[in-house]
């Protein structure tokens, strides 16, 4: 077993999964926020773009988006970032995960916007706040508070979806799991448990944190 742990280098795999999950979350939150703002903006062209983005991306498999990034953008079009292969793979993995989950974040934020009574925006306009300021000081803070729980769910899903990165050879947990099973078939169940524990270590605290946060910041009406 010690040999297995050493050969498979689960620690490095865990570190890779962690990076995919954290960087992917940051990217998804930023991009999702931008898309959500477009969606509620008064400009029809931006609304249209945001709606198309969400519909298109949310209904495509993550694997397809990842393949498009790695084989389409990186290999065929030669869009290279960083010099070594593993950095490049990590980069495109993060991009695909961010782009895909941003559509879910945008929807979660929009559901947060929908929990805000219309009167809040009207009151903001009535005291003379321009669109951007009422978004920043009145709408978005309330939307984010209302969206904490669904955003938490997206982040948990995102963490588990990082396993898709195995399909393009990124050395994260799922890919290490596969190779370990090939080399140590007798340790099959141990490997399963080990990988499961790695993910629970990531997702359980996330879930608890978001539940706590959503209670703490909930807007009382």
């Amino acid at each position: 077993m010690a040999e297995m742990l050493e050969r498979a280098d689960f620690l490095a795999a865990f570190w890779m999964t962690l990076r995919l999950a954290v960087l992917g979350t940051v990217g998804a939150l930023l991009l999702g926020m931008v898309v959500a703002i477009m969606r509620v903006s008064p400009f029809t062209s931006l609304q249209f773009f945001a709606r198309t983005y969400v519909t298109l991306i949310r209904n495509s498999p993550l694997t397809l988006i990842l393949f498009f990034c790695v084989f389409g953008l990186q290999n065929s079009l030669g869009m290279r970032v960083g010099d070594d292969l593993s950095t490049q793979n990590l980069f495109w993995g993060v991009v695909a995960i961010s782009v895909y989950h941003a559509s879910f974040i945008a929807e979660a934020l929009r559901s947060g916007v929908n929990t805000i009574p219309l009167g809040q925006a009207e009151a903001a306009r009535a005291i003379g706040l321009p669109f951007g300021a009422s978004l920043r000081h009145v709408i978005m803070p309330q939307a984010v508070r209302g969206a904490v729980a669904p955003v938490g769910n997206v982040i948990i899903a995102l963490t588990k979806n990082t396993t898709v990165a195995a399909t393009v050879g990124i050395a994260e947990l799922a890919s290490r799991m596969k190779t370990s099973i090939e080399f140590f078939p007798n340790l099959l169940y141990l490997i399963f448990v080990l990988v499961a524990v790695c993910f629970v270590v990531l997702t359980l605290p996330t879930g608890l944190f978001f539940t706590w946060l959503s209670r703490k910041v909930a807007v009382q009406r």
């Binding site: 009574p117 009207e122 009145v138």
Partner: protein
């Protein structure tokens, strides 16, 4: 102030050739059956609703139709809603300072000081650090009035400010409004509170089906309305 204003919602002609001048320091009550366009009139005055024809001017200046210009102008028109609409995620104090700091560019310290004075005036200073949901309806509405006053508006619009309130809270809000009227604030108030109208108003405007049907001083209007529709309407609310 308003001349020949028209507005439609689809086929519905909600405002039909409204001509209305409100003088500085005047208190005008707007009264009329539900659906007659009173709220729409208020919302049109500060352009929360666009209108199709006619013109609305404040101190001789036409309302700009879009953007920052309009936002600045809205700051000159205070609005108090039926459902208070306090910012739910901000404390009472922050509700009041937001506009002065972000729109009027006052220093936060000065804005806070002024906000406390206003809260003192409407009688909820001791609640300054609480959130809106922790206050009673009457207190929330008084905060909403303070929030509008903090912008130093030229005119204040009240759209049925007491109709979402429990009966015992109506007077605390009307008292604040009566004081305001006495201090010379220009006010347009949609309300069916006749006691307030008699005490504070200079003029009553009766609306029905999107038209201004009749205007008179409160005493004349309530005792001897000229139009059939006004008599009808008063008959209905008086028998309650």
């Amino acid at each position: 102030m308003l001349s020949g204003v028209n507005k439609h919602f689809g086929d519905l002609h909600v405002l039909q050739d409204i001509d209305l001048t409100i003088h500085r320091g005047e208190v005008v009550i707007v009264i009329g059956p539900s659906g007659s366009g009173k709220s729409t009139l208020c919302r049109t005055i500060n352009r929360l609703e666009p209108y199709e024809s006619g013109s609305i001017t404040i101190d001789g200046k036409e309302l700009p139709s879009e953007g920052r210009e309009l936002a600045r102008l809205r700051a000159d028109v205070g609005m108090v809603f039926q459902s208070f609409n306090l910012f739910a995620h901000k404390t009472i104090l922050e509700n009041i300072t937001l506009g002065p700091v972000k729109v009027r560019k006052q220093k936060p310290e000065a804005a806070r000081k002024r906000a406390m004075e206003l809260l003192e005036r409407v009688g909820v200073a001791h609640q300054a650090e609480k959130y809106p949901a922790q206050l009673s309806g009457g207190q929330q509405q008084r905060v909403a009035i303070a929030r509008a006053l903090a912008m130093e508006p030229k005119v204040m619009l009240f759209d049925e400010p007491t109709s979402a309130l429990d009966p015992e809270m109506i007077n605390e809000v009307l008292d604040v409004m009566t004081d305001l009227a006495r201090e010379g604030m220009t006010m347009v108030v949609v309300t069916h509170e006749m006691g307030f109208a008699r005490k504070a108003a200079n003029r009553v405007v009766f609306m029905s089906d999107g038209q201004v049907v009749e205007q008179a001083d409160p005493e004349t209007f309530f005792t001897a309305p000229r139009s059939e529709r006004a008599r009808d309407f008063l008959g209905k609310i008086l028998t309650h």
